[in-house]
Symmetry: C2
Subunit: 275 residues, 2 copies
DNA sequence: AAATGTGAAAACATTCACAGCT
DNA sequence: AGCTGTGAATGTTTTCACATTT
């Protein structure tokens, strides 16, 4: 998932495994919930259950942070909340800009989780002049022209891209040039960035496709033999396959594609993007 | 059980590694773009670059699907598009329901990538009576009461949850009871589901927190001195390490020794939710 | 000559199982 | 007695490097 792997051991093995880092937010959320209920301590077993992992993994994860538990007792909730927050860098406030205020960008701006927990939406940016000045989630949308100034004025180092795919790379470059070094990309495109810049990607259609894969497998497990086209082209000639043997109900309006067997790049539906 | 007895080599054996499955959509997108430009063949090197991975990994991934390339030449773009689509189950049409039509749900409904590529939004569902009947992305929002009927009538097996966190588990249970076996969860909560049900999670604030972790590390690399050095003490620490972002800083609760759970609520907000 | 497909090695991640602390 | 912290074992993923095929 994480793109851009530019981390070196440098000195001491100060490196927490990436897989562990990815779970820390999960633990933090579970701990925060416990904290709100004034639960003073929690065992690895309980916390693991709340976070949806197993306890051995959790203990191993925590062991990379240090020894923050008490044998025979468990972990002090408040203390652990603080330690993990610190490890994640959430004890400081991160100003964030969101570029692309379409449906998705607006949803992100309204997302409560942003405002809490160390992140602050410093600005909303969009290329559409019709949007600038309008207010979304209590924040005025500013025009793309201002991008560099906004980044600079606010000391922004984290940017969120929620533009159409076609605009993403360009926006990315401007963000990076202006000083942003971490990007959360919602546009369905691969961003190329210089070393030292981190990119994380959230891609709806990829998630759905992964689900479809497993769903299909479930189906064929119950009903083997119903597979599509069992014939295995044992590496024959790569023919211009007549694709999509539509065997299902009619798709919604015009998502069909003409599969002319003779030639033609025939539009495979473009990788569309978020609004 | 069952499964596992592979007759012959060469063919796809059961069990494509999960890491590979997660990359197939990426390859598919890159291939689709090539297809649109009428590029007939592509090498592992080129395709890997377009997908943002390295070529050895790509070849290994493809080797799990079968031998679809031609040595000395590369891969036939159209053919590979078809093979990967088939493997992912995209040669059939998957009806999907979206539950929770707030900001996020609406954004998802409008997301173009949904309609294309084998997915079809079969229904939008929300608990708010004020919304039902209203149209979003050309689809009428229906009330939660209809959930079971909708699932059943449309043969839905994939559900998307975009409700507030508090409602997610309940919605999940109803979806599962009605026959849904794959869930894409946008609510920031851990869903518990019976065996056989797949859940994937998309969590904005987790992604941001992971970025913050790396961002923090970058900052302390340039500006050692006030870093997070794990071997040392907890207690206070001079926040505001970042080069940029010298804005506010967060709470920073006491967190001395793990002992007194007396105080706690430092106005820590709940794990908020979308919509 | 060019590029795939794949064993084998290396790196990384998870799980086990228990010694050691409270 | 209970629960953490961690080496060792196991499993998974990535990378290497090259024989094989066109």
């Amino acid at each position: 998932m994480a793109t851009g792997r530019t981390h070196r051991p440098a000195t001491r093995s100060r490196g927490i495994p990436e897989a562990t880092v990815a779970r820390l937010p999960l633990y933090l959320r579970a701990l925060t919930a416990l904290s709100e209920r004034s639960v003073p301590t929690v065992s690895s077993e309980e916390l693991a259950a709340a976070a949806g992992v197993n306890s051995a993994k959790l203990r191993k994860d925590f062991s990379y942070l240090g020894s923050y538990g008490t044998r025979g007792v468990g972990y002090d909730v408040e203390y652990l909340v603080y330690q993990i927050s610190r490890e994640l860098g959430l004890t400081q406030d991160w100003p964030v800009v969101i570029v692309g205020i379409g449906n998705l960008g607006a949803a992100l701006a309204n997302y409560g989780g942003f405002a809490s927990r160390g992140f602050r939406v410093a600005a909303l940016i969009d290329a559409d002049p019709a949007l600038t000045g309008r207010t979304v989630a209590g924040i005025a949308v500013q025009h793309t022209d201002e991008l560099e100034k906004i980044i600079d004025d606010n000391g922004v180092s984290i940017g969120v891209i929620a533009t159409p795919a076609g605009a993403a790379q360009q926006v990315c470059e401007r963000l990076v040039a202006a000083g942003v070094t971490s990007i959360l990309n919602f546009a369905p495109t691969v961003l190329s960035v210089p070393d030292g810049v981190d990119v994380r990607k959230v891609d709806l259609s990829i998630e759905l496709q992964i689900l479809a894969f497993h769903e299909q497998r479930k189906a064929s497990e119950e009903n083997p033999g119903a597979g599509i086209d069992g014939s295995l082209p044992a590496a024959e000639e790569p023919p211009v396959v007549a694709k999509r043997a539509a065997r299902n109900q009619a798709p919604a309006a015009g998502a069909e594609r003409p599969a002319s067997p003779d030639q033609g790049p025939d539009g495979d539906v473009p990788a569309v993007m978020p609004a």
